[in-house]
Symmetry: C2
Subunit: 293 residues, 2 copies
Amino acid sequence: MSSLTTPTHITNMKIVNTISEMQKLSDELRKTKRIGFVPTMGYLHEGHMSLIRKAKELGDITVASIFVNPIQFGPQEDLAKYPRDFKRDAALLKKEKTDIIFHPFTEDMYSHDFSTYVEVERLEDFLCGKTRAGHFVGVATVVTKLFNIVKPHFAVFGQKDFQQLVIIEKMVRDLNMDIEIIGHPTVREHDGLAMSSRNTYLSKSERDKALLINRSLKKAERLFLEGERRTATLKKEVEGVLRQKEGINIEYIEICDSHTFEDLDTIKNRAVLAIACRIGKTRLIDNTILTEA
Amino acid sequence: MSSLTTPTHITNMKIVNTISEMQKLSDELRKTKRIGFVPTMGYLHEGHMSLIRKAKELGDITVASIFVNPIQFGPQEDLAKYPRDFKRDAALLKKEKTDIIFHPFTEDMYSHDFSTYVEVERLEDFLCGKTRAGHFVGVATVVTKLFNIVKPHFAVFGQKDFQQLVIIEKMVRDLNMDIEIIGHPTVREHDGLAMSSRNTYLSKSERDKALLINRSLKKAERLFLEGERRTATLKKEVEGVLRQKEGINIEYIEICDSHTFEDLDTIKNRAVLAIACRIGKTRLIDNTILTEA
């Protein structure tokens, strides 16, 4: 194939490392282009790629950030061993014709005297917030920073991190950030396991156990479709599936309002069923929306 | 004077009440103009006017906001009686050729379920933060909101609210807001009293007492120039001046690092001397920078 036919997107993907360069570039681009943004912690998989494709569909310029955000990890969590492979990530993003990768240095993002935090109160107290203290403050803070740096018109987030998505939507609304937040459906492996960078931690037998998570969600969806509205019953059924194999440590099974995360006894119109569990040392989350058709 | 000679600025000052209109307008203006912003709580005085003039000098378009921010007032504070006079404010801003007034409704700025806050940790624990719990969270939060709405290139703040200025500077740096913060010197009445919307609360005899605040700062400045570097001595002298009349309730007299607000025993190069006191029911603050020439 002659070089003349090579799309310019592919040859021109730009990698930006400094905050001020990214801000200048975005300021200039915003004058004529609609900027879509996909923030990631790298170690990309098909789930991320679907977010990139969504952004490309909706905007003129697609920016992906790759930044493992230290302040959203607890002291006992997997920051140090969180998987990283920038070269591989850059190749994947190039293949999808991403226009810009923003890949900042940690010491530029967090100065030694960093002390400003964004907190979405209440929503952070439920679900994952119960066991991951400070996690969502870390997420809201870094997303605010990235939004101020990348200056997108819209940003695409996966629904796998459902609580994160709802918290970001609330933050954007409360703080009047002029950015549209797009939630994008969870992408799954052929066998139903939700895509996650953390899946790489799983041994073969752990991965087999992990399949029960999606299977338990499917069971709840079926029962809901058949008319079951009592959350206690649905949760018991989900737990039953997760207990089919040993070695799944359930952190929570919750069925709650999909906007406020408040507990429900019975489902009226719409609820989120969310699961967090640990298999070996790996923490996995998944969810489904239970809603009248 | 014929209408042909009327500057278009004067006839064209725009008043914007809705958040989305302001955002659209700013997005458009940013393509070709440099936007300067002066956030205020209204009841404008010469101090505000000097901020407007500074903004006009540095930018192409000057936006002033008028919004009495409820979340920066404590439950025992003067929110309800805080002075308001939009017509007068608008006339003053028009005279200075302000381009746009952003004057939002409180219920648009704070929805019933508002719950996202910006906190600049540490800096809020000193000085006014000691007695006004939550005040600076309220300030940082509303300034973040206003920045996201007005989208300025720079914003001008008075140095009279010194702690506020330093906290905003820190917030902008930590959260990578792409906005230049300009501190502007305190404007004083002919007799030295720092301009403040709250001066309007003072009776004649209270106003006389209030003069001692600036006089005490002047005394400290003179002693500093003469070589005094011990903060205990300087504070004692300041207190001596404030005690010359009865009825000044001193909340604090502090001499501290002008960036971190940490207490100093002796001044090395630069410090802020800050005073807060109550005269009758009115709380007044003032400050001066003690620095080697």
